[in-house]
Structure formats: structure tokens, C-alpha cells
């Protein structure tokens, strides 16, 4: 944990203290800090925005009711997001999805995967460059950071993420969209570090491919 994280965790614990005393402003601050992220992570699991909003609302009720039981063994954020994923799964059960995240991850990882289509590499028996690029990555014609192309590029990325299998979508949402460290993602989702990494690998590879498809 670096200094900034330590500071922010001390600040969040103070916020929880005030919340225990019934301070509405403390609640507003916590809500403002976490609700957008909670909505996105919820949305990466449940099927509609309105279900995601219900799950997040439910999460905040869970946070308030669980305040006295929170012992500070994890960060405040990890604790809140674990409440979220529990609620989302309970809610998902209503949508006939009861599989724990770890099992869902194992299912996804049992599928074969290549980051790039195998046809884009030279065959194993190539006399000089086996398994090297036959069709190398194409340069992106529009710079994705260019102002005009930017919004469209982001829309593409969102669409590619929306199309991913559930666990890959959740992991890339938390890691790359929310900027979480891997350890915390593993804690919240209950998946191993190795599996989290493979899920991230698959997700990022798919999104890069989608961009290559559209930007060349």
C-alpha cells in the first residue's frame, strides 16, 4: 500500500465513523465517491441499467446495515464492492445465474483462446521464421487520441467490452476502466491472481483486435 492509498483509507475510515454517528454528509461523500464505479461494475454483471441501479441501491442499504460489523480487515472500497457483488449475484440468481465467480471464470478459461488469429502467424514448419507474424498488426490510421475520432473510438471500446464473456468483462472493467490493482480485484471477485490475469489478457486482446478491425 502506498502513501496515497494509506491516506485515502484513513480518510475513508473517518468517513465511516461519521456515518456510524448518522452524519448525512458523510453518506453523501461516500455515495459520490463510489456510486459511479459501483454502477459500472454492477452493469458489467447484470443485464440492464435499471437492474444495476437497484443492485447499487441495495448495496448502500447493505453498507449502512453492515456498518457495525465492518472490522476494517479490508479496505472500505473492497468491503463495499463485496457487498455489491453479493447483491448482484443474488439478483443474478433471479435472472437464473447462480454460478459463483470462480466457477464462472473456470468455465470461461476452459474455452480455447488465441490473442490473435493463428492464421496471422507463419506455420511451425516455416524454414526461417516459424510462429512469427505473417500478417503483422496494422498501423492504426486514425490516431485514436485525435479529438474527432476519440468519441467513436471510446464507443468501440465500450461495445467490445460489452460483448465479452461476463468474467472478462468484470475484470477489464475493474482493472482498466476503474484502475484497480489486481490484488483487490481478486479479493472482490474471489478468483485467483493467475486466473484474473488470464481473464484480463483475453479481454484486452479482444478489445485491441476490435480496434485494429475498425482503425485500419
Amino acid at each position: 500500500m502506498n502513501v496515497t492509498e494509506q491516506d485515502s483509507s484513513v480518510a475513508e475510515r473517518r468517513l465511516l465513523e461519521r456515518l456510524r454517528e448518522g452524519d448525512e454528509r458523510a453518506f453523501s461523500e461516500l455515495v459520490a465517491a463510489h456510486t459511479p464505479g459501483l454502477l459500472r461494475v454492477a452493469r458489467s454483471y447484470v443485464s440492464t441499467q435499471s437492474v444495476a441501479e437497484e443492485v447499487v441501491q441495495d448495496t448502500w442499504l447493505g453498507v449502512l446495515r453492515g456498518l457495525d460489523g465492518f472490522e476494517g480487515r479490508s479496505s472500505v472500497r473492497t468491503w463495499i464492492y463485496r457487498i455489491l457483488t453479493n447483491r448482484a449475484q443474488t439478483r443474478g440468481a433471479g435472472e437464473s445465474r447462480t454460478v459463483p465467480f470462480a466457477a464462472l471464470a473456470a468455465g470461461e478459461l476452459s474455452e480455447g483462446f488465441t490473442a490473435v488469429e493463428p492464421e496471422r502467424f507463419l506455420p511451425a514448419d516455416h524454414d526461417r521464421w516459424p510462429h512469427h507474424w505473417a500478417a503483422p498488426p496494422r498501423r492504426w490510421e486514425t490516431s485514436p487520441e485525435g479529438a474527432l475520432a476519440h468519441a467513436e473510438t471510446l464507443r468501440l471500446i465500450q461495445a467490445a467490452i460489452d460483448g465479452l464473456p461476463t468474467m472478462q468483462r468484470m475484470v477489464i472493467t475493474m482493472r482498466d476502466m476503474e484502475g484497480w490493482p489486481s490484488q483487490e480485484v481478486c479479493e472482490v471477485l474471489g478468483v485467483s491472481v493467475a486466473n484474473q490475469r488470464v481473464l484480463l489478457h483475453r479481454a484486452r486482446s479482444v478489445v485491441r483486435n476490435a480496434l485494429e478491425e475498425h482503425l485500419t
Binding site: F27, E53, W60, F121, P144, Q158, R197, R204, V207, R208
Partner: protein, 87 residues
């Protein structure tokens, strides 16, 4: 390609694209990391691939985060008020 006996086996591009996340996550064994970096130093196509992957994740971090709608904020405050009364 032949290698002197002390040299590590070369990393082909097809392996590079599968290990690049392990590289970015700093979870490669020392040997594999050296093989990967050696390959990267020589292969402009894989340099391009890595650059695009980095760009992809930077862009993912720029996806707009919606603010909480006023309606949702109000509902949450209702939840809070009810909770405070319950205590």
C-alpha cells in the same frame, strides 16, 4: 535459427502476443522476461502490438463515468433517512 548453447530459445511472435499481459503485469519468470525483452528489441511488429495494447488500456480508462443521477441520489438519501430512523 541456431543458437550458441548458452543462449535462451528465441521467443516467436505468436508466443509474445500470449505473454504480453504477463509482461505488463510483471509476472513473468526472469528467464521468460529476458526472452520477451530480447524479442521485443528486435521485432518492430511486436513493438507495434505492445504499443497498441497499451493504447487500448489507456483509452479504456477514459470511458466516461456517469455522475449519479439526481433521482438516484434522492433515492439513496431516502434509504439513508430510513436507516437512521430504524437505528
Amino acid at each position: 535459427m541456431t543458437h550458441p548453447p548458452h543462449s535462451r530459445p528465441e521467443m516467436p511472435c505468436a508466443e509474445f502476443v500470449e505473454r504480453v499481459t504477463d509482461y505488463l503485469e510483471d509476472s513473468l519468470q526472469v528467464d521468460d522476461r529476458a526472452r520477451l525483452e530480447e524479442h521485443l528489441g528486435e521485432c518492430t511488429a511486436c513493438q507495434l502490438y505492445l504499443g497498441q495494447l497499451r493504447q487500448t488500456l489507456t483509452l479504456a480508462g477514459q470511458l466516461v463515468q456517469d455522475d449519479v443521477s439526481p433521482a438516484m441520489h434522492d433515492e439513496l438519501l431516502t434509504v439513508f433517512t430510513r436507516w437512521r430512523q430504524e437505528r
